[in-house]
Amino acid sequence: MLPRRPALQAVRSLATEVGAANNTLHAPTPPLSTTKSAVTRSKPLLEAAVIVNRSPTITRSPSRFEKTFFQYQSRIARALHNPFPYEFYFKQGSPLEAQFNIEERSRERQAFGRLTRTMWDTTEANLEAAKLAKEEVGKRATRFTEADKRKDLRSLDRRGERNLYLVTKSEDSSWSFPRAAIRKGEFLHQTAERALYPHCGVNVDTWLVGRKPIGLYKPAEPTEGHERLVFFYKMHILAGQVEPNGSSAVDFAWLTKEEIKGYVEREYWRGVKDMLSDS
């Protein structure tokens, strides 16, 4: 157990400086030390990596059970609801009214099956007028986009319901989140802000979430005798696209959580998986 340095205590004694949120994060976990003794332990190299997240662009689609339940509840509501003031919203005899009546009749049939008594005016003249007045509704974008069909992993339109994360391929063909080493006098969240642009270009509209890291990765074998600590920061991408510089970042992909598992190294994945969203 390493002795606490006096400098740390001086910092912590100023209660006003350290916020209330600090208390929950202040658990005195002993620092995990390797086989090196306390005296010869070298200062770890700090790196900030950035987990760039594209938030879902569309709502989650309901599961089969949810859809069936919603249909069941809609049927009950349709049986019990107060009547819709048709004549207030539709001018009597108008083609729009006829169109609405046709749609309502099909919806009723779908909910309750064929019933002998029909309540909607579907005279011949109205049906004709409705057919004439039928306009093509402006085409809306589909939920399963072109990028989904092509399975384009670099596209930001793919998998609209899910959270996509950016992974880059470095020159040694390993996939990971973009990272940068801390510089002298810099705060770690500033390193995180800096981590993306050298590898991925500046034509991305990003926003870093707060100043606290969301996770940590400690590789088992220390490189060059120094222990390396990689702190992960969460960042949102709001517009633009990544352009790898070709040297430090050769390729990139926007992947969901389970897709990342197939790309990164196993040890790295174990350290990183709990920070990512399942959905």
């Binding site: 400086e17 350290v18 770890p44 069941y72 009950i76 596209s155 770690l188």
Partner: protein
């Protein structure tokens, strides 16, 4: 949702929707402007069940369609329980994921405290969105036009307004790939 309808008390009675005590007839002659008549009918609907159109307090064949909609008391209760179970499971899954994420964050902060106390203090410093440093104030004074708007739009400490709840369909243009920064960040 509709539990009260199938309460034990009413089980032995034929399926009936409660009738209101007030019964008012519809006006037959048009006294005033038809628009006003329509509004009056909307606000004070006639509830005598003698018309094919369902303008009134309930639809005429409510018992029949309700019996179609709900298979039985037991089925309805089973469906309700299944739904609550489903909700409970999604809630557990969501909470478990949040707990895992928070644990990662807590561990990272604990390590950061030891590794870089300066960054740790800076991370814990409370952010006031209204605060402006001297450097920022000077910068905004010197900027004009779209640059100034770009700098002022992103308020440190607040979520950007581009982060919004997702709609049911993606935007017609798709993702904006052609975004260029107005104030390019320094790449070094």
């Amino acid at each position: 949702m509709f539990f009260s309808l199938l309460s034990r008390r009413c089980e032995h009675l034929p399926l009936r929707v409660s009738a209101t005590s007030v019964r008012y007839s519809g006006r037959k002659e048009v006294l005033s402007d038809p628009q006003k008549e329509i509004l009056r009918r909307v606000l004070y609907p006639a509830n005598i069940r003698n018309r094919p159109s369902p303008v009134g307090s309930w639809r005429p064949d409510v018992s029949r369609v309700l019996q179609r909609a709900i298979p039985s008391v037991q089925a309805h209760e089973t469906i309700e329980r299944a739904w609550l179970l489903h909700k409970r499971h999604t809630r557990w899954k969501r909470n478990a994921e949040l707990e895992r994420k928070f644990e990662c964050m807590r561990n990272a902060m604990a390590e950061l405290e030891v590794a870089d106390p300066r960054s740790f203090t800076e991370a814990n410093r409370p952010e006031d969105p209204r605060a402006r440093s001297v450097v920022e104030v000077e910068l905004t004074k010197s900027l004009r036009g779209p640059e100034r708007r770009a700098v002022e739009a992103r308020i440190r400490g607040l979520f950007p307004r581009e982060i919004r709840p997702p709609p049911d369909t993606p935007p017609t243009g798709g993702w904006n790939y052609d975004w260029k920064p107005i104030v390019p960040p320094t790449v070094s």
